[in-house]
C-alpha cells in the first residue's frame, strides 16, 4: 500500500475543502486581484478532484506568497524568488503530487528570473502562476520588472527608463510548454485556464493579471479584457510556435496601449515532460522516490557492495 494514500484518492471535493479552518492574518487589501487567483485555484482544484492532502502549493515572498495562508493544502512558503527550485524537486521526489508554484512579478520575473528560465527550459511537470500586478505591493509600491516605461514610484521618482519585461515571450523562448494569460477580473476563464494548466503534462505558465487597487491606482487594472479565443479578431494556431510568438508580441504591445488580451497562447502537448525525459535516459526511478523510504521491504544498496571493488 502506498505511504501517500491521499494521492489519487479521487473523492468528491468541494471548493470549501481548500479553505483553512483558521482565519489567516490579513495581508490582501480589499479589492485585491489576488482574491481572484485564490478563487480560480480553489475552483480548479475542486473541478479536478484533487484532495488538499495531495496538493503541494509552493510560494515565494510578497502578497502572492500569502496564497498559502488562504489556501488549504500542503504548503511551502519559501523565500523571495525561490519557489520554483523547491517545487520542481518536490515533484521529482514524488511525481504523484499535484505541484503548483506561485509568486509575484517581482518574485518570479525579477529575483527568480533565472529559476523561471531554467524551470521552463527543463519543462518540469508543474504549474506556475505569476500574480502580475506590475508593481511591488507588499514593500509599498515600487516599480517592478513588468511596470510600464515611465512608471513613477518612490524608488523611481523620474519614471522608469526600462522596458517592461515580456513574460509571455520570455516563457516561450525559455521553453514552457503551456503558456496562458488570464486576469482576476474574469474568474471563470481563470479557473478554466488553471484546470488546463494543472492537467498539462509539462511546465505550464499562467501569467495572471491581478489589479493592485492600493499601489497601482494609475494602472489600467486590466479592464476591459478580451479573451482571444472568444474573439474573431485574433485567430491563430496556438500549437504553432511562430504564430504563438507573434500573438504574444501583439498582446504584450497592446497591454501598454490599454488593450488587455488574455487566453491560451501556446499549448504543446507532444513534448515529454522533464520527468519523462529523465526516466527515458535512466536517471529517474519508475516508482516515486519518496515511497521507498516508507517501504520496509525495499533493499537498500550500500557502497561496500557496489563501489569498493574499484578502490581495491
Amino acid at each position: 500500500m502506498s505511504a501517500f494514500s491521499a494521492i489519487g484518492e479521487g473523492k468528491e471535493i468541494d471548493r470549501n475543502d481548500y479553505t483553512p479552518g483558521l482565519e489567516p492574518q490579513a495581508t490582501w487589501c480589499p479589492g485585491c486581484g489576488d482574491f481572484g487567483v485564490l478563487k480560480a485555484l480553489k475552483g480548479a482544484a475542486a473541478e479536478l478532484g484533487k484532495s488538499p492532502d495531495e496538493m503541494l502549493l509552493v510560494t515565494g515572498i510578497g502578497c502572492s506568497g500569502k496564497l498559502n495562508s488562504y489556501f488549504e493544502s500542503y504548503g511551502f512558503h519559501t523565500i523571495h524568488g525561490r519557489s520554483l527550485p523547491v517545487a520542481r524537486a518536490a515533484k521529482l521526489a514524488n511525481p504523484g503530487l499535484q505541484v503548483v508554484a506561485a509568486g509575484g512579478d517581482g518574485d518570479g520575473y525579477g529575483i527568480g528570473g533565472n529559476h523561471f528560465m531554467h524551470s521552463a527550459r527543463e519543462n518540469h511537470d508543474m504549474t506556475y502562476i505569476v500574480f502580475n500586478n506590475e508593481i511591488f505591493g507588499l514593500t509599498k509600491g515600487q516599480t517592478s520588472p513588468t511596470s510600464p516605461m515611465g512608471h513613477k514610484s518612490k524608488t523611481q521618482p523620474h519614471g522608469s527608463a526600462k522596458q517592461p519585461l515580456r513574460p509571455l515571450s520570455l516563457s516561450l523562448t525559455s521553453g514552457a510548454s503551456y503558456i496562458a494569460r488570464t486576469a482576476a477580473v474574469n474568474p471563470n476563464q481563470a479557473k478554466d485556464i488553471i484546470v488546463e494548466a494543472m492537467e498539462h503534462d509539462g511546465f505550464s505558465h499562467v501569467d495572471f493579471l491581478t489589479q493592485c487597487p492600493t499601489w497601482n491606482k494609475d494602472a489600467r487594472q486590466y479592464v476591459p479584457y478580451v479573451d482571444i479565443q472568444d474573439s474573431e479578431d485574433y485567430e491563430f494556431d496556438n500549437t504553432d510556435r511562430r504564430e504563438a510568438a507573434e500573438m504574444m508580441h501583439e498582446t504584450e504591445d497592446a497591454l501598454h496601449e490599454g488593450t488587455v488580451l488574455t487566453g491560451r497562447y501556446y499549448v504543446d502537448s507532444d513534448r515529454p515532460s522533464y520527468q519523462q525525459e529523465k526516466q527515458q535516459i535512466g536517471e529517474m526511478p519508475e516508482e516515486p522516490l519518496a515511497e521507498r523510504y516508507f517501504d520496509d521491504s525495499y533493499e537498500w544498496e550500500r557502497s561496500y557492495d557496489n563501489f569498493l571493488d574499484k578502490h581495491k
Binding site: 492532502d53 504548503g75 524537486a89 521526489a93
Partner: protein, 633 residues
C-alpha cells in the same frame, strides 16, 4: 626522514596524465602491502602549468605528506611545448624539473625525460646535484613511448624506470594495468613498462642510491580512497538518493561521484542553474520525503545562505557539503585553506543555527557524513560537512571493513500516515507540525510528508504557529525560538554520549597541547610523534565537531596542559577565535600557528612552530600568531 619510506613525486603539465598515473601507482603500492598517502598540487588550468602528485609509501601508518620527498619523476610539460600555445602559456616546459628541486631531500633520485626536458637550461643544476648528493637519470622516455605506442604513454615508461630504480616488483603494476586498461592500449603500455624497466636495469647501476621501496604487509584488505569518495559513499550508505549541485572546485568531486552513481541506485542527480537553486532543490526533495543533499565551495556556498536559513526556520532536514579552497572571493581555486569556517558557522540572517562537522581524515569523512544525515533528519535541522581541497583530493588507504556498515534509510523524526492520527493536533483539529510539546523534549516535533493523508501543514520561512501559519504573536515567537534552540542542547548531549569523534593523540599527561581541526589532524599527529621522540611532551586534540562545539572536551584538554598551540590553515585564526568564544576562557593559554600560502602544513612546519612559539618564547600570554612558510614556497 629515514629510508624506510618512499615519497615519489611525479611532475608534469596539467593534462599529461599525472593524476591517473599516480593514482594507479599509489594503488599498486597499497596492494603490495604498504600504507600510502597522496598529495595533489595543481594549477587552476586545464592544460599545461606546473602540476605534481606526491605519493608517500611506508610500512608504518602514514598520516600526512611528510616533509619533502626523495624520488622525482619529471615528465615535462607537453602542453607548454605546443608552439601554437606559447603565446599564452609562456616558456614553462622545464618547470616539472626546475620547480621541484627545492623540496627534494638529500640523497634523492631524479628521473627526467630527456626527450622533453633539458637540464642544462637550469642554472646551477649540476652544482645542486653535487651538493645534495642527488642521483640523476636522464632517460628519453618520450622516444621510448613513441616507438612502442603513443607519446602520452611516457608516463608508463617513467613508472617502469621508477620500479627498476626503487626496487619495485613489476607484478603489482602489471596487475593493475590489466585491471584498469582496455585491451587495445594495455599491450603497448605493458611493452613500454618492461622496456623501460629492463633498459634501466641493464644500463645503470640501480644500487648507486639507497632510495628503495620498503616492504610491508596489511593485516586486512585495504581500499584507496579520497575524502571526496568517502563523503559520497557516506551519503549513499545513509540513504541519500537526491543531490542537486552546480560545479565548483573542489566540491565538484563529490558532486561527480554522486551523479555517476545515484541513477544506478534509483536516485536522482540534478545539475542546476546556480547554488541557490541547488540548495533549494535539496530542500524541496527533503520536504517531499527524500534524503537529500547539496553542496559547494566558498563562493557557491555564499549563495546557499538563503536556503540554509529557510531550512532551519521550516525545520526541513538537509545536508550541505562545503569544500573549502583559498579565498576571499574566488581566491585560489585549486589550493587548500580553512578560511570558510566562520562563513559556514555564521552565514544566514537572524538567530539561525546549523550543525557543522569537519572530518579530520578520509575515514572520518565517511562516518561523519553519515552522522550529518542522522542528525539532520532526526533533529530537522541543516547540517554541514566542512572539509577542504586537501582532504577531498588526497588518496589514502583505509581498511575496507571501515565501510562495511549497514545502510540507514531512516527519515528520522518522520511520521507514517498511521502515526499522524496519534500525533498532536491543535484545537481546530489540524496536525501540529511545529508543536511546542515535543515527545523527547528535544525540540523535535515529528513531521509529515506531502501526500500523506491528514498531515497537512504549511512550511514557511516566516515565524509561524504550531500548524505552520504565519504569526507575529510574541508568546508564540518565544516558544518557537526556544523549541528550535532546544535541539542544539540535545544534539550536543547526543554527541557527547557517543564514541568520541574528536580525536585525542599523544601522551595523556603531556605538558603542551596542539588543537587543530579538519584536514590538518594527521599532520599534527605526525608532528606530535616527532616532538615526543625528541624529548618534548605534547599531545593533540583534533576537533571535528564545530557546531555545536564540544565545550567540555576542549576545556578539559586545555586545562590539562600548560599551553596550547592552535594549528589551522587560515590567516585570521578563525578556529582559535571560535574556541575562545565557546570555552569562554583560557585565552592566555592559546597561541596560533597559521599557514595560508596555498599549501597545507607539513609536519616539520609544526615542529618548528612549536619550537618558536612555545619553547623559545617564554613571554605570556602567547597570543601572537606565526606564519610558517614551507620550504621552497
Amino acid at each position: 626522514m629515514t629510508n624506510d619510506e618512499l615519497i615519489w613525486r611525479i611532475a608534469g603539465g596539467s593534462g599529461d596524465g599525472i593524476a591517473s598515473t599516480s593514482q594507479n601507482f599509489a594503488k599498486a603500492l597499497m596492494r603490495s602491502g604498504l600504507n600510502v598517502f597522496t598529495h595533489r598540487h595543481y594549477p587552476s588550468r586545464i592544460r599545461g602549468g606546473h602540476t605534481y602528485t606526491e605519493i608517500r609509501a611506508s610500512a608504518d601508518p602514514v598520516k600526512s605528506r611528510g616533509d619533502g620527498y626523495n624520488f622525482l619523476l619529471a615528465l615535462g610539460d607537453s602542453f607548454a611545448r605546443n608552439p601554437q600555445q606559447n603565446a599564452y602559456y609562456g616558456n614553462e616546459e622545464i618547470k616539472p624539473l626546475s620547480e621541484n628541486l627545492d623540496e627534494l631531500r638529500e640523497g634523492g633520485v631524479i628521473i627526467y625525460d630527456s626527450g622533453l626536458l633539458d637540464a642544462s637550461e637550469i642554472e646551477d643544476f649540476d652544482e645542486r646535484v653535487e651538493e645534495n648528493d642527488w642521483h640523476v637519470y636522464d632517460l628519453d622516455l618520450r622516444t621510448m613511448a613513441r616507438e612502442h605506442g603513443r607519446e602520452v604513454m611516457r608516463n608508463t615508461a617513467g613508472v617502469g624506470a621508477t620500479c627498476a630504480l626503487a626496487g619495485i616488483d613489476l607484478e603489482w603494476i602489471e596487475e593493475l594495468m590489466t585491471d584498469a586498461m582496455p585491451e587495445k592500449i594495455l599491450e603497448p603500455n605493458l611493452e613500454i613498462l618492461h622496456e623501460a624497466y629492463e633498459m634501466v636495469e641493464s644500463e645503470y647501476d640501480v644500487d648507486a642510491h639507497d632510495v628503495k621501496i620498503p616492504e610491508g604487509e596489511h593485516d586486512e584488505e585495504q581500499v584507496l580512497m579520497s575524502g571526496s569518495d568517502a563523503i559520497a559513499y557516506g551519503a549513499i550508505d545513509e540513504g541519500c538518493r537526491f543531490i542537486a549541485g552546480y560545479p565548483m572546485t573542489p566540491w565538484t568531486e563529490v558532486f561527480t561521484i554522486m551523479s555517476q552513481n545515484l541513477p544506478e541506485l534509483g536516485g536522482i542527480s540534478e545539475q542546476v542553474e546556480d547554488e541557490i537553486a541547488a540548495a533549494a532543490l535539496a530542500l524541496g526533495a527533503s520536504h517531499a520525503g527524500v534524503k537529500a543533499m547539496s553542496g559547494s565551495s566558498g563562493g557557491g556556498f555564499a549563495l546557499m545562505s538563503e536556503p540554509l536559513g529557510l531550512a532551519e526556520m521550516t525545520e526541513t532536514p538537509v545536508v550541505l557539503i562545503e569544500a573549502m579552497r583559498a579565498g576571499p572571493s574566488t581566491g585560489m581555486p585549486t589550493k587548500p585553506e580553512q578560511g570558510d569556517l566562520e562563513h559556514v558557522l555564521y552565514t544566514s540572517q537572524g538567530d539561525s543555527h546549523r550543525i557543522v562537522f569537519a572530518p579530520g581524515t578520509v575515514a572520518e569523512a565517511y562516518t561523519q557524513t553519515r552522522k550529518a544525515f542522522q542528525i539532520a533528519y532526526e533533529y530537522q535541522i541543516p547540517s554541514i560537512v566542512l572539509y577542504d581541497q586537501k582532504l577531498g583530493g588526497e588518496l589514502v588507504n583505509v581498511p575496507a571493513s571501515h565501510f562495511d556498515e549497514e545502510p540507514n534509510p531512516s527519515l528520522g523524526s518522520t511520521l507514517t500516515e498511521a502515526e499522524i492520527a496519534d500525533a498532536p493536533h491543535d484545537d481546530s483539529g489540524k496536525f501540529s507540525r511545529f508543536s511546542y510539546d515535543t515527545p523527547e523534549d528535544n525540540g523535535v516535533a515529528p513531521r509529515s510528508i506531502p501526500g500523506q493523508k491528514g498531515g497537512r501543514f504549511l512550511a514557511t520561512g516566516n515565524e509561524h504557529m504550531p500548524e505552520g501559519h504565519i504569526s507575529e504573536d510574541p508568546e508564540n515567537r518565544v516558544f518557537q525560538m526556544n523549541k528550535r534552540m532546544r535541539k542544539l542542547e540535545a544534539i550536543r548531549e547526543e554527541l557527547d554520549g557517543e564514541v568520541v569523534n574528536n580525536s585525542e593523540y599523544g601522551e595523556e599527561d603531556a605538558q603542551y597541547g596542539f588543537l587543530t581541526f579538519g584536514s590538518q589532524q594527521g599532520t599534527v599527529e605526525e608532528a606530535v610523534d616527532r616532538l615526543n621522540e625528541d624529548g618534548h611532551s605534547v599531545k593533540m586534540l583534533g576537533v571535528s565537531e564545530m557546531a555545536p562545539y564540544p565545550v567540555e572536551q576542549v576545556s578539559e584538554f586545555i586545562e590539562s596542559v600548560d599551553e596550547v598551540l592552535v594549528v589551522e590553515m587560515n590567516a585570521s585564526a578563525q578556529f582559535r577565535g571560535l574556541t575562545q568564544k565557546e570555552v569562554g576562557r583560557y585565552g592566555d593559554k592559546l597561541s596560533s600557528l597559521l599557514k595560508y600560502n596555498g599549501n597545507p602544513f607539513e609536519p616539520q612546519d609544526i615542529v618548528e612552530g612549536f619550537e618558536v612559539n612555545i619553547v623559545e618564547n617564554d613571554d605570556h600570554p602567547h597570543t601572537r600568531t606565526k606564519y610558517v612558510p614551507a620550504a621552497g614556497d
